[in-house]
Symmetry: C2
């Protein structure tokens, strides 16, 4: 397997000032897998759903070459549900409810054929579970992980243990500040680089993303979107594009990591154009490539 | 004159969580002039101070080739004073007091030898005064203007009139949203492009700046600064570097406007490294050039 993805799979109810969807498929593992599937068809997914999870989404994943041997479907179980509401500026949201359901007892079991995966992408789950995944895999070339304020606040020590085994941490700006306990974002990133990861990516929503490797900093803008429909999953979509590009190219050089950030940003920019996975499941390679080039136009300037 | 600068000159009292300075020279016209003086020695300044304004700052400006024929020094007058306090994250500040003093009756009188200036840079003053400046000058090649929430709220109609005569509007993100009455920044920028200016630059502080020309968007990051001492004047320093580069090169092509944004960003990144004008008055051309190249490193990625 080129890429192992472990994370949540959910049914999301999302409200924005302009529209609303009920129980649309989501969760970090779903966004990551779909996004990465544009770069590699060698993806193993590990997650859990109830038997209420829509079969067409399962077929969709399979048709993308996502191996679902690691997907636990709990009979008579209810899939994890989340409901959130975005405010007018689309940058802030509040959680209306979280129903963990079958996700409450999630214990990631990595199928044998996934254990030699080259890249492991750990979506935002309990750092204890992230470690349990790493205990089962055989020496991956790259471990990518995400986390969130919930775990930073409740399982800080466990998170620090996990970070020692992570190569690339992908977090948003608030999470970076919270992990490092440092308000300056650049200082926060550097502090995290001392906690284990060799690479930190700080996502800043509409302000783009910053890649930090040692003292090297790469700053990528967000693609300017005039009509953001739904920001849900954009961060996971970014991680999926980033991981997928690296899985495809097997090149972890600084030069290629910069490119991976742009591919992640490109697919994430599509994600927000529609609700849930609606937009990212219907992309053409041409659209992705054109948006990659659009990032070049967006950032280019000549010295002379 | 290559560049005419009109704006405020002040004595600023600035408090940050780490330090404090009392009555340090500031104001938009001062920051713009000093920043632009690295690119051109043909600058005319129009502003007003009291006779309490430090003479060494006046000498400093003169030594930089800033022509002070348009500087009114009011006998027995007190210079405009502003006091502000930055919060821990350095992104938000509150005004402690504003004492307009001689600035309350400021009536910009453009000396004859300034009237044929090629570029006019209007710092953040009453839009009525900005128009009065434009009434006095002879067909400048480029008019650059700034404004702020105070005028947007109190003199919206007058501001709209001014905008019809402005080529480049430089504002921050909150101001852009407020002028356009539109929360989405890209939409807001496009709306402003319909109000008169051919070019809009939206400053986003630590998130950089966005240049918009018709449907072309250029996104520049901010230079990552770990130890921000004082953000005061960074926006004006940006405008000064931008205007100065254009005055030096006399090339208003899209390609050169992108470069001008990076030069503005480069000098602004120095500004925040120390209080007031302390850092920007002591730059070498080499430092500016190296930071320009650092922006290239910060943003570069290769397609293949």
């Amino acid at each position: 397997m080129e890429l192992l993805v472990v994370g949540s799979i959910a049914l999301d109810t999302i409200e924005t000032p302009f529209s609303r969807v009920d129980e649309t498929p989501g969760g970090s593992a779903l966004y990551i897998s779909i996004s990465a599937s544009y770069f590699t068809r060698s993806i193993g997914l590990v997650g859990v759903v109830g038997d209420d999870f829509p079969e067409d989404v399962i077929s969709e994943l399979q048709s993308r070459g996502v191996n679902l041997k690691g997907l636990q479907i709990i009979p008579n179980g209810k899939t994890f549900r989340w409901a959130g509401k975005y405010h007018y500026d689309m940058n802030t949201r509040e959680t209306i409810y979280t129903q963990l359901n079958v996700f409450a007892d999630f214990n990631p079991v990595i199928p044998d054929e996934f254990k030699s995966s080259e890249i492991v992408c750990l979506g935002n789950i309990d750092p204890v579970l992230q470690m349990r995944v790493l205990d089962q895999v055989y020496n991956p070339k790259l471990v990518i992980a995400d986390t969130m304020n919930f775990w930073i606040e409740r399982k800080y020590d466990e998170l620090l243990e996990t970070l020692k085994r992570v190569n690339v941490l992908i977090v948003n700006d608030a999470e970076a500040r919270q992990i490092a306990r440092e308000p300056n974002l650049i200082k926060a990133g550097k502090k995290i680089l001392n906690l284990g990861p060799e690479i930190v990516i700080i996502k800043k929503g509409e302000h783009g993303a910053v890649l930090m490797i040692d003292s090297i900093i790469f700053s990528a803008p967000a693609y300017p979107i005039e009509a953001i429909q739904d920001p849900t999953g954009a961060g996971d979509t970014f991680a999926g594009g980033f991981a997928g590009w690296l899985a495809k190219t097997k090149d972890f050089s600084e030069k290629n990591l910069r490119r991976a950030v742009i591919y992640g940003s490109a697919i994430a920019s599509f994600c927000v154009e529609d609700f849930g996975i609606n937009r990212i499941k219907n992309l053409s390679w041409n659209e992705i490539q054109n948006r990659f080039f659009a990032f070049k136009e967006l950032t280019k300037f000549e010295v002379d």
